[in-house]
């Protein structure tokens, strides 16, 4: 989005947006945005963007929420109706969601998942798009040639000498590494978990010898890799299809029909080209999606204009150097400003709520010291839950977006504030407190005149710790569609784009440092004068 440089321009832009929205309002009976989500890899971004553009070309407003951390998270959100549609693969539905092993070919698997998903969750598989993106076990061509490897059966013999690097998703699922090693008897010398963004690099540099890739991946040709044939047909068919929520399917039939027009029309060559545009040429996802739709003859008037790029991070052509960062950030300044604002909202609301709860609780615990340790330990336990897991726990209760993110960040903030409040109050000049009490100060007076002023710097230090943790953890909120500076980080990780990652990471780091500095100042300001050192 281009930011208005002057107030007048901003007003004009606002009027234009308003007029456009009003027109769309009249045109479409239903104006609730359709929530389109994706998983955190390039092709999922691409397909979600294609869905979004198709829907927009039919006059439906779209709310893009790309980059959900995992299959489980985005599927949960779909079942709850927080997400209306996202691109999924039949094999993933079968193995990762239903936990079943492959049974038959494409048609059987599609029938199996569509019947079961409908019966169990009311979720609908729309007809497959027309291409398959299966797991591809890949090696450097030179290494495969020197070992004369062509198939996974062959890999079983060579594996004890080889190191594998696999995405966390692949390592964790039944149709992933465990099933693969069982089916072929493959035992690697070692395996390690590698993010999508670094996997190809690690392979190219020889840090690992074998990786899991996607068969439509643009990077396979770029890095000159050999894909080993799945000669025992271990991997189920992975036909791509829009997965839609029951609510959406029932209440927006025309929109569903619009998406269904994609059925059978997206061929594997067109997808591979689009993936390459994104991953090799560094093209913006919106542009690659528009060209994909044009390639398959679904392009509509207006798709080529900037409209479709609005909510999607823009990408300059592949940037070879980090010197491109300032220019990129300047180009994205309006978008980044919005993300900073959202980030601050997440941090400040959760921090404020944590102060409102943990401060009185810490004070109250001083009177109940016998249970204080247990309560503080419980708060500590919350903090040991990994950020992404805590966010995942929130979805069944709070759905996706800002609410679950704020609750998760709130829980993270509790411990430092609670612990510091309790410690600060307990350790605030106990001899002065006992003397004050002996001379007739009431408990309230002891608290407000002695304990709180003396504990204030310690409490402030707790708030400061919580704030810094929050600024960092809030970047994970992008994984559940809450926005903020995590958006460019997650998108950049998915698209292997370091400049995009940094455009989120650098402002987040600046926010953390600035927040820390501000609160450090506040900490010394609240220190009572007689004890200030």
């Amino acid at each position: 989005m281009n930011g208005g440089r002057r107030p007048a321009a901003a007003v004009l832009a606002a009027c234009a947006v308003w007029a456009a929205v009003a027109a769309a309002d009249r045109a479409a009976a239903q104006t609730t945005p359709i929530v389109v989500a994706s998983k955190p890899f390039a092709e999922s971004y691409l397909l979600a963007e294609a869905f979004a553009q198709v829907l927009e070309s039919h006059g439906y407003p779209v709310d893009r929420r790309p980059g959900f951390a995992s299959t489980e998270l985005v599927f949960q959100a779909l079942v709850r109706g927080d997400v209306d549609v996202y691109p999924e693969y039949t094999g993933t539905g079968l193995a990762a969601i239903l936990g079943e092993t492959a049974a038959g070919g494409s048609a059987e698997v599609f029938r199996r998942v569509s019947d079961t998903f409908l019966a169990r969750w009311g979720v609908r598989w729309l007809p497959p798009l027309g291409f398959e993106n299966t797991y591809a076990i890949a090696m450097r061509r030179t290494a495969a040639d020197s070992l004369n490897l062509r198939t996974l059966t062959g890999l079983a013999d060579a594996a004890p000498e080889l190191g594998g690097g696999f995405s966390p998703d692949f390592m964790g699922r039944a149709d992933g590494l465990d099933g693969l090693t069982a089916a072929y008897g493959i035992e690697f010398r070692e395996t390690r978990s590698l993010l999508q963004a670094v996997k190809y690099q690690a392979l190219a540099e020889g840090a690992v010898d074998v990786i899991d890739a996607y068969s439509t991946d643009g990077a396979i040709s770029r890095h000159d890799l050999t894909v080993l044939a799945d000669d025992r047909r271990f991997f189920p068919p992975y036909d791509a299809a829009p997965l839609v929520s029951g609510d959406f399917y029932d209440s927006r039939p025309e929109a569903v029909l619009a998406l269904a027009r994609l059925a059978g029309r997206v061929d594997v060559e067109a997808v591979r080209r689009a993936n390459e545009r994104i991953e090799v040429d560094g093209a913006p996802v919106a542009e690659a999606a528009a060209r994909l739709l044009a390639d398959i003859g679904l392009s509509e008037a207006g798709l080529e204009n900037a409209e479709g790029e609005r909510a999607q991070p823009n990408r300059s052509p592949r940037r070879s150097t980090l010197l491109a960062l300032p220019a990129y950030m300047w180009g994205e300044r309006a978008e980044l400003a919005g993300q900073v604002a959202r980030h601050l909202l997440l941090v400040l609301v959760s921090l404020g709520a944590a102060i409102l709860v943990a401060l009185p609780a810490g004070v109250a615990l001083e009177r109940r010291r016998s249970i204080a340790e247990a309560v503080i330990r419980t708060a500590g336990l919350l903090q040991t839950i990994p950020g992404i897991a805590l966010l995942a726990f929130m979805i069944p209760v709070f759905g996706i977006g800002v609410a679950p993110a704020v609750v998760a960040l709130f829980l993270y903030s509790l411990l430092p504030i609670l612990r510091n409040t309790y410690t600060g109050i307990v350790e605030a000049a106990p001899d002065a407190v006992s003397a004050g009490r002996a001379l007739g100060m009431t408990e309230v007076q002891l608290l407000t005149r002695i304990r709180m002023p003396l504990a204030a710097p310690v409490i402030m230090a707790g708030v400061r710790t919580a704030a810094v943790i929050n600024v960092g953890t809030a970047t994970l909120a992008a994984f559940i569609g809450a926005g903020g500076l995590g958006d460019p980080i997650v998108a950049g990780l998915a698209l292997s784009d370091p400049v995009m990652i940094l455009s989120g990471a650098v402002p987040a780091a600046i926010l953390a440092v600035f927040g820390d500095w501000t609160l450090a100042r506040a900490e010394s300001l609240v220190a009572p004068s007689g004890v200030r050192s």
Binding site: A429, D431, A435, G436, L439, T442, G530
Partner: protein, 242 residues
């Protein structure tokens, strides 16, 4: 006339009998020293007077009134209190510390009373009023604590090992100026100490405590003559010549 009367005081902490049927009274204007080793029950007894400790059984009366019938906060504001470590409020100036009780009582001249009390405790208000406790020596801090205890001109003063942490010289000075202050303010005092010599310097009467009981009580001037058994032992330990 007894200003403080303690009858059959019993206090237990778990299995430990801290006070075992103690009966004592303190006449108006007197200074009673409670002497004994740690764990003898002297501090528990002192704290029963202003209800910092609630007795399991027995009675405490102050100015003829059972303390159980007086609101503890009001009771404590009417009785001065000094503890061993001073317990000055660290982020308050000496003057604000000294004026604490008059301020709690809502006296408009609290600050003035604080100044007078600092002077009475041997500290020049012009020099010390605006200083913070951490800028003072141990002896000076204890004087501020005494000023704070007497600023509202209470008729009773409770002292819990007030000079226990001071070096010998400072301690002598503090004992002397306390004795002078007590005389001029005509305050009735109960003074806890483990040091019989100190008791003899500051008190008019001495009660020797052991294992929650008063084993001997007499006028300060007579204890050297009358002491037998444990009290005599304690005198020996304190190095008081017989």
């Amino acid at each position: 006339m007894a200003l403080i009367r303690i009858e059959d005081a019993v206090k237990r902490y778990g299995d430990v009998l801290a006070l075992n049927n103690v009966t004592l009274s303190v006449d108006k204007g007197a200074c009673l020293a409670l002497v004994g080793e740690s764990g003898s029950g002297k501090t528990t007894l002192l704290r029963a007077i202003n209800r910092l400790t609630e007795l399991d059984s027995g009675r405490v009366a102050v100015r003829g009134q059972p303390v159980g019938a007086i609101d503890p906060v009001q009771l404590r504001r009417s009785i001065g209190y000094v503890q061993q470590d001073g317990g000055l409020i660290p982020h308050w100036t000496c003057l604000k510390n000294a004026a604490l009780v008059p301020a709690l009582l809502g006296n408009h001249d609290a600050s003035e009373r604080g100044r007078v009390a600092l002077g009475a405790a041997g500290l020049d208000p012009a020099t010390f009023a605006s200083r913070y406790p951490r800028e003072l020596s141990g002896g000076q801090r204890q004087r501020v604590a005494i000023a704070r205890a007497v600023a509202a001109e209470p008729d009773i003063l409770l002292m819990d090992e007030p000079f226990g942490a001071l070096d010998a010289i400072t301690r002598n000075e503090a004992q002397e100026s306390f004795a002078a202050l007590r005389e001029s303010a005509r305050v009735t005092a109960v003074f806890v100490t483990h040091d019989l010599r100190e008791a003899l310097r500051v008190a008019t009467r001495v009660a020797v405590m052991r294992a929650g009981q008063v084993v001997m009580e007499s006028a300060a001037g007579e204890i050297v003559r009358d002491a037998t058994g444990y009290a005599a032992e304690l005198l020996e330990k304190s190095g008081v010549a017989r």
